[in-house]
Symmetry: D2
């Protein structure tokens, strides 16, 4: 029996290949799907089925791509997909000694499906269940994606899915969710990557409620950001994303050529916050590699060609994969020779300050600066710098008028990484940012005052 989890970092997206005796299925494939073929071949298997737990909203599904490569059948829940086939509650899929059984579990989306796994070699009991975004480690998937009007009914349905369909499978059943910690698909996903129905029953706050009403209240009380690119993903995943065949190639672009075309392109600077602050191309969006998967979709427009600014060319492959996974296929190239070449070409640059907490405190005027916390609402609520304002980085451009033009703005995030993105956006709108390196971690370590729940 083969069972492997394939994790896409950043999005914390988890896909799986499962199989037995030469027959395999892939659950929720990502778009760069050579890896599934490699694993199938290594294990001497053919991929016969592609199972979707739901129309994913945070990444482009690789189902059509993998289907084109393998001829496998795509199965998904009850929605008007332009590809694949509908799977029915109770429908069984046989893979060698394994039986997978589809379970309708509406809630996170109306057509969400789970798939239980019976290992006939061991016995007739369910041993594992692919839970999609219905049940995550420490969390249940968010129910707010279809707007406030449908939120209550979806929460109610999710309660039934969890309590009537999944929990009865038994405490010993291993859960195989579609997302891990760091994903936008759940409020507070645990960092442990392994769990069971039994553990979740005892440790998952969404399963420890007093009843359906308490559950619905819990879900209605969740404060979650919905990145604007989710709509693009939902549309693509319904219609079927364009086939890419293999990863797009990005070519080196000489600095002067890039400069000449700068108005028509989007520049993404993937270097570290320190390097960006010190010197960058005016207008380039700062998206350090770590936050590209989760924050790219907030700020990169779909359409115009993308030019990358890298620390080293070995980053290119990861950058392209990450962008393609969230639907940015139009990658024109990368600055040839990086910023060193740009500097040698004597082209324009910008810079702003990036300070550690110690350096900030040494500034005599540090008490008179504008402090802006750009983390998500739920992080802000847990505790924030005394006296700071809050605008989530994903909303920053829409609410730019709330930031001062006449004094410097100290940006606070957890570590300084998202702060770099925020600083690049502020600068673009004529503000004077200071990025606090080390972010709130440094703030706390330095013993500075923290507020809670205020605004």
């Amino acid at each position: 029996m083969l069972l492997k989890k394939i994790k896409s970092e950043g999005l914390a997206h988890l896909s799986y290949i499962i199989g037995s005796e030469g027959q395999a299925a892939v659950v929720d494939p990502r778009r760069d799907c050579q890896i599934y073929l490699d694993l199938a071949q290594e294990n001497n298997m053919d991929i016969f089925f592609i199972l979707e737990t739901h129309r994913n909203e945070d990444y482009v599904s690789g189902s059509r791509e993998l289907q084109a490569m393998t001829g496998a059948k795509v199965l998904h829940g009850d929605l008007d997909f332009n590809y694949g086939e509908r799977v029915w509650d109770g429908q069984e899929i046989r893979l060698g000694m394994l039986t997978l059984r589809a379970i309708e579990t509406p809630g996170h989306t109306p057509e969400s499906m789970c798939y239980s796994v019976v290992d006939n070699e061991a016995g007739p009991e369910v041993v594992a269940v692919f839970t999609g975004d219905t049940l995550l480690v420490g969390e249940a998937g968010r129910t707010d994606l279809f707007g406030p009007d449908r939120r209550e009914i979806l929460s109610s349905l999710q309660y039934d899915s969890l309590f009537d369909r999944l929990l009865p499978l038994g405490d010993g059943v291993i859960i195989l969710p579609a997302h891990g910690a760091g994903s936008s698909c759940g409020n507070n996903i645990g960092s442990r990557e392994y769990s069971t129905i039994g553990l979740e029953r005892m440790q998952n706050h969404a399963l420890m409620v007093g009843g359906k009403e308490e559950f619905i209240d819990l879900k209605l009380g969740e404060v979650l950001e919905k990145p604007p690119y989710f709509e693009q993903m939902e549309r693509l995943n319904l219609e079927g994303a364009p086939l890419i065949g293999s990863l797009p190639r990005a070519f080196p672009v000489p600095s002067k050529e890039a400069w000449a075309m700068i108005e028509t392109m989007v520049l993404l600077d993937l270097r570290s916050p320190s390097a960006y602050a010190s010197s960058h191309i005016p207008g380039a969006i700062s998206l350090p590699m770590d936050i590209l998967p989760n924050y790219g979709g907030w700020v990169i427009p779909y359409g115009p060609p993308i030019i990358l600014i890298l620390d080293r060319s070995s980053q290119l492959d990861t950058a392209i994969r990450t962008l393609v996974r969230i639907g940015y296929d139009n990658i024109a190239g990368y600055i040839s020779g990086g910023m060193e070449s740009w500097h040698k070409a004597a082209l324009p640059t910008s810079s702003f300050e990036a300070l550690s907490i110690r350096e900030l405190l040494e500034r005599p005027d540090h008490g008179h600066l504008f402090y802006l916390d750009i983390r998500a609402e739920k992080e802000w609520r847990v505790g924030h710098a005394n006296g700071a304002r809050h605008i989530f980085v994903g909303h920053l451009e829409d609410r730019i008028d709330e930031t001062p033009v006449d004094r410097e703005t100290v940006i606070l995030c957890s570590s300084g990484t998202r702060g770099s993105l925020a600083a690049s956006l502020l600068e673009k709108h004529g503000r004077a940012p200071i990025n606090l390196l080390g972010g709130m971690a440094g703030w706390k370590e330095a013993g500075l005052p923290i507020d809670r729940f205020s605004r």
Copy 2:
């Protein structure tokens, strides 16, 4: 939280690295242990502890090696080890947000320990348990390694360990055993690599017994081979194996040089059964790569230098690792240029027939040949060729007198791989072997008669 399983193929040995917030432990490390350092570094962790679940008998422990590399503390159960420290029942080991707790679980060995894991980020409940060879997927570890006298008491202790110490941890707890399917440490380990206490309670035949007596009867009824090299492993793991620093280097040996020294060396031919049958160096032991880990220890003497015969030099690294893991450090080299060079040098060779079932049946005398099944006792019992004799390959040289010198012997195993080893041993003792390619699988597929439980 980091939790990774490191599987050594063949031995089906499972080791683990577990950690949190920069602090890691390795459970039951193998001897070529660079991989643990790589994983620790990738996850930005330091290895502080090395936990042994018991004095392993089927491979050389890497604990001393890894200790030398990292300075980590080695912990093990109550036995006179020449290295490391004793851990006590209930003793806690803290790794960042994790708490590991030692549990005395005698049975497989008198000093066996398990280690439960609490993920303090999620709650105070045990989430997983390192079960060593006490509880395996679908099986409990064998209890016969300390001789018939101690078998009953160890089985009784194991019952208590399983029912009083492990099962009460709860159905949802994930089990992390030290061996998987194919290992000699349990009778009938399942091929699924993931399980929980709950699943084992329902599917593990050793846990589905009516009480302690039934359990003891079950264990006393197990028929298991004990490879002779186990004693070497036990000794080494008690005293602490020699440090190797890095993998031994093997050098190419020209054919004629090898021929000149052939009396003082052990030749291991790692090529496929077909290739071996067709032409091999007289006296070379046939150990196709797949069976080297599990059968090497039955037939390779400790002491004399080993010369390898490979299909291609890319096999070398795997071959060396495999040998070192079972304590064969004295690898002198490999035949430079392989069998092609040997043939070009016009040196002596031998051959015997390797037939598919179809070819065998086409031989007019196939009804008059001697049929020898060399599989393990338990495989033989499940079903064997009508009219065949049984001698397990590991006992073949001791019982060589039971095989005929005056007629050809058709060797039966499951696929023809172990058959190649048996054939090489028969040939060495002057017999005329025929290896049946496809083994019992082909036999059954051809619709030939099968007996059960007779001899």
Copy 3:
């Protein structure tokens, strides 16, 4: 300055990437051309030109493929190519600090071109020259490919190309030929991979002639085989081969399925000669990996789907690359689980003897067997087994009537590898082959008699 040689093993095809200051050219690319893109990117270069030294006949040119990937301009000599542009004698191509200059050098083919390289950083002198198949290490390219009628005139032209165009470049100039030892494009190419005009002047037998007439006589006297697939290559390279985009994918085919379709497919067995002899699928062509590139084109028909039989799945990538390079794009798959699965499925197999020279001599009837040398004419002429007949393996099926049906045939090649191919062909035509492992090398080593120049 970048200059890298990319060698395709087997065909001994040498291609090059050369560049300076961000601008690169590729000379004679192969069809699986991702490697040129990787090298260009690593060196921060763009590929602007693709230079062909001639319409290659032994492999499918990657020029169109690479052009599709990069937009580079393809340049070649004076022939009606369906793609690219003609380059003129004396035409200069500028790459950063380098100047490449085209030189018309008809002979090997009528439109052959060489390209000299000036490194303007160092001085105005030519430093190297891409010599295509005009000048090889120790040899000049064959001139017989356009038939006996044009052989003399091409030889004459080649003399002029060598003596009037290349030698005058100067002794210190480094030569960069399109093929190395083992290629079918020259008679006797040296095994050293580096040379200069000066060294060739002193060591290359084709350049040490007394004058044009002697040179022509030398060329007319060459005895070279022309593989039938050369015509397919010539046609493809004129028309432009189909674009492949990326390497074709091959899928695992279960043994029984393969057996059901066996009539409509070509089976290629890539295992070692020993393994093949011992047991193989009836009708499968034996093409051990080493000889696939050079002998595949002699015996594999274009058109029908190809099924591979491998030793291990890691061979797959190399096998596919090799086949695609010589125009076999229709690779249906490989036997899932290899011969072990075939044997377990109890499907038909064949076998024949493969003997070392010692074993052969031990056969009492060894003096009465039919001995067949299947090496190339020129190898045969250098020395062969006393009493043997000669039929080159590439002509064996056409001349099958010259082999006996009523007694066994001992096949002689240099090592036993091509012998395996010959044996598989003989068996297909109802003969009884014995493959001599170690071939003529073992024959000589055993001190057996050698004849020269007789037939």
Copy 4:
């Protein structure tokens, strides 16, 4: 025949493995010498000889290390080495079909040897020559390493070595030098990696002199820096460097632990100039990866433990190799989590400005700053910023008093990389540096005035 060049980037050190028919030699091995074993094995060869062209001064020789691994014989010229054997002029070394012949070529060092190569398969002529630092592409090795007193005599000897021993080998002979462009062992080594005696005769300024006197004048006129670590290398290479076995392991060090020990350690910051300028640990030496090999030896003291600051942990392997090659074996570890962890720990940091040329010119006071060119003397002479002062970065700490304490210093190098090192040294001595990103390349591109040959 095998001939492979192994290049160690940065030092531009070239070593070689050469062999034939199973027998290989390595010329001038580096200290991390697993690569030679890998190449030998891939080519089915054993290393029998290690040839040193001279007691290298810019890196630690791997001869003893490789000898310990292989048992090969080390050969070198006439000096009191503590290991290996002396080779004599004319002595021949046989490797399969190759003959290597030792040639005494004093000059760069008194005991320099070259080794010519005859390929007996092709003919009796010399085909290539390992030239050590006697003859480089476009240059002859420096002759000033033994002080001003011996410079003239060594130059004279080198003239004889070049003109009487190497040039007579013939124009067609390929040269295989020990260093390439960027090395400190020659004044002006060409960037082309391939050359011949003939090309050098025509293009190498040292070989185009009018006679011995002109040659000596040329050599006496060379202005070259001698890094202080050369003496350490010379000593180690005479005595034999300590064996390392395998690369040292570096462990992650938590920020606070590092801070506690900071006084007793050397901190090397390997990040980019931009990242360093923006925020760094006070006292850390800036050595961006690119300049670590060539500039590390100028500024890192031998003895104290080294702690690295990395951009990403994948840099670690390269960093350790680089340091070990120049004799820094005492690598204690690297800051766990990098600068992000440091910032989160709220520990002290420093920063200074790093400006592009455009940003510099926008500063109203840019005409009043102190401009300091820290490039090598010979770069300075070719052209420098009007009004700048010159102190080579390697001498900066010795001449720190020549830099102002009361105003900012703009540092000029070629690109801004060495400038970062200089800036870190200035800061350490209480100065206020500004690193000019893009360096003199940007300066020129911006059309700013250049002076020559003044100071």
